[in-house]
C-alpha cells in the first residue's frame, strides 16, 4: 500500500476549544469542525472566499482589527473568538446595514423560513433599525429567463450567483451591473438567463432574490415534506431532495454533500417535476377496439396481455419480444427479463434509441476519476446535453488543467478557458494526448461502436483508463446488467435459452409480419429510435403491442393495450448510474399517485401470475441488483461487436451532391415527448426544431442564425421533409453536417432517418431577428 500523504497539522483555538486542522484551513472551515457557526453570505466552500459580505467577522488575538473568517488561514497557535463582544458588535453593525435597503417583505417571500438574512438577523442582529429614511427602489419580480425570477431589492449582493456562473459553469451570463448601492445582478441587456444549470443559483442565493418560477408562491418551507431520492432524468443519478405539499411535488433541491452530483443539480432534474400531476397522465388501462381506445380494468388488461403472450409463444416464441428497462428500476428490469425468459422468450432489449452499449466493460470509471484525469476524450455526443452534471465535472477538470479532446464534436466547446482540441478521428485524438498522460477519461455516447472500439485500441499501453457511456436513458447500464439484452442475461452471462434478437431486428421481423406480440415498458421508440417511420410501420404490423407509460406517447398511440405506469417519484427501487453506482429511488412522501396507475413492478407481478411463471425470491433479486449492477465486467470491450445492431433504414442513403448535408441528431436536455412535453411550466425551455450548421455551409447556403428553413431528405425513396426549422450557425461544427435537435414531440429528426443526407431549402429570413 502506498504511504498516505502526510498532512501538516496546525493547532488552533476557537472559542476556547483547541484542536488540530490541516495547514491551509480557513477559519470558517475550522470552526465547522467544532460545530461553531460563523455566518457567511458570500463564502461558499466550492467557490472559495470572496470577502464581500463582511459578516464572518472574528476576533483573532494579536490582530487589532476584526478579521474575516473566510479569507483568514489558520496559523499554528491562532486564538480565535467568534462570539466575543467585539466580534458580535461588528457583526451586529453589518447586519443592520443589510436591512437598510432591504424591503422586509418576508411575508410574501418564498425564502421566508429558510432565509439566511432572517436567520442571521435573528441570531446576531440588533433587533431594530436606526434607519428612518426611504429605501432605494430596485426592480422587483424581474423575469430573468425561463427558469428564474429576480427580486433586486432582496439581493444582498453576495455575488454567489455571479461567481457560480463564472467559476462553476463558465457561462458568465449573470453579472453585476452598475455600481455602489445601485448595483444589481443582471444578464446582458435583453438576454435571458439560460443554460442547463440556472436553478442552482436559487439555492446558492442566501436570500429570496433568486427564486424558481416553478416554486414561486407555492409553499412555505415548513409545510413541505422531504424525501431523499435519486434523480432519474439522466444516467448521472444525482442525489436530490423531493419536497411535497398537498399531494404534489413542489420542488427538487440539491444534496450538498452528495458525491455523485458534487452538490449541484441540472435544470432538467430540478424543474421537470410538473408532469406528475399533469391532466394527461394515464390513469386507467386502455384497450384498442376498432381503432378506438376504451377503458378497461386492470384484471382484464393483465389477462389480455398474458393470453396474447401465451398464445404467441405457443405458436412461435421468436414472435414475441420485449423492450424496456432503461427507464425502469433495476428490480423491474430484472423481473421483466426473468418473466419473459422463463416463458421462453429470447427477444429482449432495452435499446429504444440510438445508443447501442451502456456498460463500458472492465475499464468502467468512477465519477471521481474525472476529477483526477489529465486528459478527457469525448467521442460522439458531448455529455453537455445528455449528462449535464457529468459535464460540470468535465468543465471543472478542464479548468484545473486537464486536456479535453473531442472526436467529431457537434456541440460547442464548454465555455471555460483551458486546453481543448477538436479532431476528426480516433487516431488524431490519441495523438493529441498530453505527453506522458497516465490518467485518461473517455466519455462516449455509446452510439458508434466502431469508433469507440478504435479509440480504446489506439490508446497507449499502461494508461489508467476510466471509461463512461453517457446513455440516453437513466438506467441503461442497470437494464443491461439485469439482462435486458438479447445476448446477455443477468450479470452479462450468456442467457440460458441462448441469444435472441435485438430491438432493431425485432422491428425488421415485425415489418416482415413475423412478430405477434411486442411488450414495450417505459420506452418511446417511435420518437427516439433513429427511424420513426420504420418503428411506426413495424408496430402497425404487429397484432398485439403493449405499452406501459405515464402518457399517451407517440408509441403508446400505436399500442393495442396501454398500461398506466408510475413515475420514479412514485415507486421504490434502485437505479444504476453511468459509473455503476447503485442508487436508491424512493417514492416521495406525501405524493398523490393517480389511483389507476401501477408501477411496472406491480404490473409484471400480475403478468407473471397470469402466465404462471414463478417469481424470483426477494434475496435473489437483491443479490442480482447489487452484484451485477456495479460490476465492471471483464467479458467484453468498449464498443464490443456483440452490441452491434442492424442499421436503421435510411442509413444507406446515396451520396448527395455538394449541397447535401449529413444529418446528425443532437440531444437537448429539454427535448422529449413524455415528461417534458407534459410539464406545462417548462414550455419556455423546450427547444424549437433547430438545425445547427457550420459557418462555411451557412455562407454557401446563404442562411444566418435566426432564419427558418426546410430540411428535405435528399434523394431517398421517401421524400420526407421537416419544415420551419430554426437555423443556428455554430462555429466549430464540422463542414457538411446538419445537427438537428432530436427527441422533439413532432420528431423532426427521426422522421428523416439516421445519418440521412439532407438539403436545406426554402430559406426564410427572420425579419425580427435581422432588425435586432
Amino acid at each position: 500500500m502506498p504511504d498516505k500523504p502526510t498532512v501538516d497539522m496546525v493547532s488552533v483555538t476557537i472559542d476556547g476549544v483547541t484542536f488540530g486542522v490541516p495547514k491551509g484551513t480557513l477559519v470558517v472551515e475550522a470552526a465547522k469542525r467544532i460545530q461553531r457557526e460563523i455566518p457567511v453570505y458570500c463564502y461558499h466552500p466550492k467557490m472559495g472566499p470572496a470577502g464581500l459580505c463582511r459578516i464572518c467577522l472574528v476576533e483573532i488575538e494579536g490582530m487589532p482589527k476584526l478579521q474575516i473568517g473566510c479569507n483568514t488561514v489558520v496559523t499554528d497557535g491562532m486564538v480565535v473568538h467568534t462570539q466575543s463582544e467585539k466580534a458580535a458588535d461588528g457583526r451586529r453593525a453589518v447586519l443592520e446595514l443589510y436591512l437598510v435597503n432591504h424591503p422586509l417583505d418576508c411575508p410574501i417571500c418564498d425564502k421566508g423560513g429558510e432565509c439566511d438574512l432572517q436567520d442571521f438577523s435573528l441570531a446576531y442582529g440588533r433587533g431594530f433599525s436606526r434607519s428612518a429614511d426611504a429605501k432605494i427602489g430596485k426592480p422587483k419580480a424581474e423575469d430573468l429567463g425561463p427558469t428564474i425570477v429576480l427580486d433586486e431589492e432582496r439581493c444582498v449582493v453576495c455575488q454567489r450567483c455571479v461567481r457560480f456562473d463564472d467559476l462553476i459553469v463558465g457561462e458568465r451570463q449573470l453579472v453585476l451591473k452598475d455600481r455602489g448601492v445601485h448595483n444589481i445582478v443582471a444578464t446582458a441587456t435583453g438576454d435571458a438567463y439560460r443554460h442547463n444549470y440556472t436553478g442552482n443559483v436559487t439555492e446558492l442565493c442566501p436570500v429570496g432574490a433568486l427564486t424558481s418560477k416553478t416554486y414561486r408562491f407555492k409553499s412555505r418551507p415548513w409545510d413541505l415534506r422531504r424525501t431523499r431520492t435519486t434523480c432519474t432524468q439522466c444516467a448521472v443519478g444525482c442525489g436530490a431532495f423531493l419536497d411535497t405539499r398537498l399531494g404534489g411535488v413542489r420542488r427538487t433541491m440539491l444534496v450538498e454533500d452528495d458525491p455523485i452530483s458534487d452538490g449541484w443539480l441540472c435544470d432538467r432534474g430540478r424543474y421537470n417535476i410538473g408532469f406528475y400531476d399533469d391532466l394527461h397522465r394515464l390513469t386507467q388501462p386502455l384497450y384498442k377496439r376498432d381503432g378506438e381506445f376504451v377503458q378497461i380494468g386492470w384484471d382484464d388488461a393483465l389477462a389480455l396481455w398474458a393470453r396474447a403472450i401465451a398464445d404467441a409463444i405457443a405458436a412461435d416464441p421468436a414472435s414475441v419480444g420485449a423492450l424496456g428497462g432503461g427507464r425502469l428500476t433495476n428490480e423491474e428490469a430484472y423481473l421483466l427479463q426473468h418473466i419473459f425468459r422463463s416463458a421462453g422468450v429470447r427477444n429482449l432489449d432495452w435499446r429504444a434509441g440510438r445508443q447501442r452499449q451502456a456498460t463500458p466493460g472492465k475499464r468502467a470509471g468512477r465519477l471521481a476519476d474525472i476529477d483526477r484525469a489529465e486528459a478527457i476524450l469525448e467521442i460522439g455526443e458531448s455529455p453537455a446535453e445528455r449528462a449535464p452534471i457529468l459535464e460540470l465535472r468535465v468543465r471543472k477538470a478542464v479548468r484545473r488543467g486537464a486536456r479535453l479532446i473531442r472526436v467529431a464534436p457537434v456541440q460547442s466547446r464548454p465555455p471555460v478557458a483551458g486546453s481543448c482540441a477538436d479532431v476528426a478521428t480516433a487516431g488524431e485524438a490519441v495523438a493529441q494526448l498530453p505527453p506522458g498522460a497516465k490518467r485518461v477519461a473517455v466519455i462516449w455516447d455509446g452510439v458508434d461502436l466502431a469508433l469507440g472500439r478504435d479509440l480504446v485500441a489506439r490508446l497507449p499501453a499502461g494508461i489508467d483508463l476510466a471509461a463512461y457511456i453517457t446513455g440516453e436513458q437513466a438506467n441503461a447500464r442497470g437494464a443491461e446488467a439485469m439482462g435486458m439484452h438479447p445476448s446477455f442475461g443477468p450479470g452479462y452471462a450468456v442467457p440460458a435459452g441462448g441469444a435472441g434478437r435485438g430491438f432493431a431486428a425485432m422491428l425488421e421481423d415485425a415489418r416482415a409480419g413475423k412478430m405477434r406480440v411486442l411488450s414495450i415498458l417505459g420506452a418511446n421508440p417511435a420518437l427516439h429510435f433513429p427511424d420513426g417511420a420504420a418503428v411506426r410501420e413495424a408496430l402497425e404490423k404487429t397484432p398485439f403491442v403493449v405499452v406501459s407509460e405515464l402518457f399517451m406517447t407517440q408509441t403508446a398511440r400505436l399500442a393495442t393495450l396501454v398500461l398506466p405506469a408510475r413515475g420514479a417519484f412514485e415507486k421504490n427501487g434502485t437505479t444504476t448510474n453511468v459509473a455503476g453506482d447503485v442508487l436508491p429511488v424512493n417514492a416521495a412522501e406525501g405524493l398523490d399517485v393517480p389511483d389507476g396507475a401501477l408501477s411496472d413492478f406491480e404490473m409484471l407481478i400480475g403478468l407473471a401470475q397470469a402466465l404462471h411463471v414463478g417469481l424470483p425470491a426477494q434475496d435473489e433479486l437483491e443479490t442480482a441488483v447489487i452484484s451485477h449492477s456495479a460490476r465492471a465486467p471483464e467479458g467484453f470491450a468498449f464498443g464490443d461487436a456483440r452490441f452491434e445492431q442492424p442499421a436503421a433504414r435510411g442509413g444507406s442513403a446515396p451520396e448527395g451532391d455538394g449541397n447535401a448535408l449529413r444529418l446528425v441528431v443532437e440531444s437537448r436536455i429539454f427535448a422529449g415527448g413524455g415528461t417534458i412535453a407534459h410539464d406545462a411550466r417548462l414550455a419556455d425551455l423546450r427547444p424549437l426544431p433547430q438545425v445547427a450548421i457550420s459557418p462555411e455551409d451557412a455562407a454557401r447556403l446563404g442562411v444566418a442564425t435566426g432564419d427558418y428553413v426546410d430540411i428535405t431528405a435528399w434523394a431517398t425513396v421517401r421524400q420526407e421533409r421537416v419544415i420551419d426549422v430554426l437555423v443556428e450557425v455554430r462555429t466549430g461544427l464540422p463542414q457538411g453536417v446538419a445537427a438537428l435537435v432530436g427527441g422533439l414531440p413532432d420528431d423532426p429528426a427521426n422522421a428523416l432517418g439516421e445519418r440521412a443526407l439532407v438539403s436545406v431549402t426554402n430559406v426564410r429570413r427572420n425579419v425580427a431577428e435581422a432588425a435586432r
Binding site: I108, E142, P146, K177, D178, H182, A186, A680, A683, D684
Partner: protein
C-alpha cells in the same frame, strides 16, 4: 448588429487589433476599445458592447458589467456637449453651487439630463483635480477653469453658435431626457423569457409561475399607502418629526 455599425466595426477593426496587441491579455483592451467606440458613436451602444465581447472573446454580459461600472461610459445617447461641473469640496466652498444653479437655469435641465435639442448634457461630477482653479468643469473632457456666470453665458453662446473651441462629440442617435440606465433597469432587464419574445409554445403557462402570486403582489403594491399609513402610526410614537416628513413626502408625491 445594424448595418451602420457593421460598417463602423470594419472601419475600426485594424485600430482594434492594434489596441489589443498592446496587452499581454486581450481583455485589458476592454476599456480602450469601449472608449474608441464611444468616440465614434457618441455613446456605448449595445452593438458596441457586443462587438467588444466578440473581439475579446468574452460574454456580452461581462462586457456590459464592466462598462456599467464607469461613469464616463454613456450607455445611452448624450448631448453633443457634455458639461460636467465639479462638485468636489474645494469647488463647492468656492462658488460651485452658484455656477451649477446658473447652468441648470440657463439649460433648463438638471443633473444627468440632456436638453431637448440634444445639444447639451449636464452632470455634476466628483473632484476633477483642478482645485487651484476652482470652480471648474469639463466640456467633453476638456477643462474649463475659474468659472463665472458671465463666462458660462459666453461659453453656451459659442457652443450654440458653433464657434466654441472644443469640438462637439459625435452624435449618432438623438438622446433622451436622461442617459442613466440604473433608473430604467426594469426596462433593460424585463421580459426575457422566450415566452415574452414570442418564441415559445402556445401553451406557455410559465410566466411568473402561479398567477395568484402575481395578483397578490399587485394587490400589495396598490395598497402601499395603506401599509405606509400603518407604519406611520407606529413611527409617530417613536419619532414624531420623522413621521411628519414621511407624510409630507407622501403628500408631495401624490
Amino acid at each position: 448588429m445594424s448595418e451602420e455599425f457593421r460598417a463602423l466595426l470594419e472601419e475600426l477593426r485594424p485600430r482594434c487589433v492594434e489596441i489589443i496587441a498592446q496587452y499581454e491579455d486581450s481583455r485589458s483592451a476592454l476599456l480602450p476599445l469601449t472608449h474608441l467606440f464611444q468616440e465614434h458613436q457618441g455613446f456605448v451602444s449595445r452593438d458596441a458592447m457586443r462587438a467588444v465581447a466578440e473581439l475579446l472573446a468574452l460574454s456580452p454580459a461581462v462586457v456590459e458589467s464592466a462598462v456599467s461600472f464607469y461613469t464616463l461610459f454613456f450607455r445611452r445617447p448624450v448631448g453633443k456637449y457634455v458639461l460636467q461641473v465639479c462638485r468636489g469640496l474645494a469647488c463647492t466652498i468656492n462658488g460651485a453651487e452658484e455656477i451649477m444653479a446658473h447652468l441648470r437655469e440657463r439649460l433648463g435641465i438638471g443633473h444627468l439630463e440632456t436638453t431637448a435639442d440634444g445639444l447639451f448634457s449636464y452632470e455634476e461630477v466628483e473632484c476633477l483635480a483642478a482645485c487651484d482653479r476652482a470652480s471648474c468643469m469639463q466640456v467633453n473632457l476638456e477643462f474649463v477653469y475659474d468659472l463665472t456666470p458671465r463666462g458660462i453665458d459666453d461659453m453656451l453662446a459659442a457652443m450654440r453658435g458653433g464657434t466654441y473651441a472644443t469640438a462637439p462629440m459625435a452624435q449618432t442617435q438623438m438622446p433622451a431626457r436622461t442617459w442613466t440606465v440604473e433608473q430604467d433597469a426594469q426596462v433593460s432587464c424585463g421580459a426575457k423569457s422566450a415566452g415574452a419574445q414570442g418564441q415559445s409554445h402556445p401553451n406557455n403557462a410559465s410566466g411568473l409561475g402561479d398567477r395568484s402570486g402575481v395578483i397578490m403582489l399587485d394587490h400589495i403594491v396598490a395598497n402601499e399607502r395603506l401599509f405606509r399609513g400603518r407604519t406611520l402610526e407606529r413611527l409617530a410614537n417613536a419619532e414624531p418629526t420623522l413621521a411628519k416628513i414621511v407624510d409630507e413626502e407622501a403628500e408631495a408625491a401624490h
